[in-house]
């Protein structure tokens, strides 16, 4: 069984996994960080999105063993104490969620979008959300939240 070590939300963690253990299973089942969700079995929904070495990835489509040595950021690592990350705050302000299941993946993806493109147009935000599925909101408030957060993050 592979022994792995990685940094998750700034903390060194380690564990023994099977070759087939997915990164999302390691995050949820081994580390107990259940904010990262599994919404599908087909790698399509994006609810499991985390940052790996600064890039957004689907943690359901990466082997835990492959993330050995990586820096991982999950939804739990965003807030600074009681102060929400500007993207989380924008999702709250703009009511960018209904059931909330897709939200952790949406927020992590949204930060990736703004990191790559600090001034995205509405069209660019909608296109960049290709990999995240929401079954409640119709996306409109999510797009508004990302637009607002992009301005806040730039300020």
């Amino acid at each position: 069984m592979p022994s792995i070590k990685m940094t998750v939300n700034g903390k060194e963690v380690s564990g023994e996994v099977e070759g087939r253990t997915l990164l999302v299973q390691f995050i949820r089942d081994h580390l107990g960080l259940t904010g990262t969700h599994v919404g599908c079995d087909t790698s399509q929904c994006g609810a499991c999105t985390v940052h790996m070495n600064g890039r957004v990835v689907k943690s359901c489509s990466i082997l835990a063993a492959h993330a050995d040595g990586a820096e991982i950021l999950t939804i739990e690592g965003l807030a600074d104490g009681d102060t929400l990350h500007p993207m989380q705050e924008a999702f709250r302000q703009h009511h960018a969620l209904q059931c909330g299941f897709c939200t952790p993946g949406m927020v992590m993806s949204a930060i990736g979008i703004v990191n790559d493109n600090p001034e995205p147009s509405e069209k660019e935000i909608r296109e960049a959300l290709e990999g995240n599925i929401c079954r409640c909101t119709g996306y409109h408030n999510i797009v508004e939240a990302i637009d607002a957060a992009a301005k806040e993050m730039k300020a």
């Binding site: 592979p2 070759g19 087939r20 087909t42 999105t49 890039r55 957004v56 689907k58 082997l63 993806s109």
Partner: protein
């Protein structure tokens, strides 16, 4: 997912020797096809050989009059490369249409070509640009590389190291995305270079293929009007719930004209 032996390659030689020593191994590049396939239990390898730690398999460089892209270079890296955006902007733009941002951050050009999905975007670019695929054993011209649905000229255990793209005078790509999956139902890549005009189509057949009738017409006059009256045969084209063979044949003409600004 069925369990397997996870092995990490420490060099390309180590990767191929681990592959040969294993009973039924698979190379793991970005994993954007392999992992979903394993999750669905559609494949059951004995060993998975991870190429992800081979940093010298990543990178983009200029070599003479060609651009060399190493096999483990991600779609994001091709899409955002200054060199590719200045020399072959159509290739950079194509990489930006693959999957979604998470897929583009992981998926690699080598993995994409080795898998040869009938609706993959890269194969038509590689074919139209007349690229050369370098493996651990030889160089393969793209005319000979794509041999059928999910089938390539690669031998068992042969590993793609890089793809070399001659810089064209002009190139363009357009695809008609499936409204749900966004895979091309039909995509067309047109390149005009020192060896004439080459047109390659993806999504329409079992694998990417050249449209030689269009090539002949566009060699005479590089203009969308030169091909607008050519009716493409639907013989041998894919037909499924997304599009009939007849519709795909029609799209081949429309996408090719749009690829060159029509």
């Amino acid at each position: 997912m069925y369990d397997f032996e996870y092995q990490r390659a420490t060099s390309t030689d180590d990767a191929t020797s681990k592959y040969s020593a294993a009973e039924d191994a698979r190379f793991l590049a970005g994993g954007m096809t392999l992992i979903p396939v394993l999750k669905q239990r559609l494949d059951q390898p004995s060993d998975v050989i991870d190429l992800g730690y081979l940093d010298d398999m990543r990178g983009i460089s200029e070599e003479g009059s060609a651009i060399m892209v190493k096999a483990m270079t991600t779609h994001h890296d091709v899409n955002s490369s200054d060199l590719i955006n200045s020399k072959i902007p159509a290739l950079a733009a194509l990489a930006g249409t693959i999957g979604d941002q998470m897929v583009r951050n992981r998926g690699t050009i080598g993995g994409n070509l080795a898998n040869n999905d009938p609706a993959a975007s890269y194969p038509c670019a590689v074919l139209a640009l007349n690229a050369t695929i370098k493996t651990d054993k030889r160089e393969i011209a793209t005319n000979d590389f794509f041999t059928g649905m999910f089938d390539t000229a690669l031998d068992e255990g042969e590993l793609i190291l890089s793809v070399s793209f001659p810089v064209p005078e002009e190139a363009g790509y357009k695809h008609f995305p499936n409204p749900a999956s966004r895979f091309p139902i039909v995509g067309s890549f047109v390149a005009k270079g020192s060896d004439g005009v080459r047109v390659a189509i993806t999504g329409a057949g079992p694998c990417a293929f050249r449209q030689t009738e269009f090539e002949a017409a566009l060699s005479g006059e590089f203009n969308p009007d030169a091909i607008k009256d050519i009716k493409v045969s639907d013989d041998g084209l894919n037909s499924d719930i997304h599009a009939s063979a007849e519709y795909r044949a029609h799209l081949i003409n429309v996408m090719t004209r749009r690829a060159i600004g029509g």
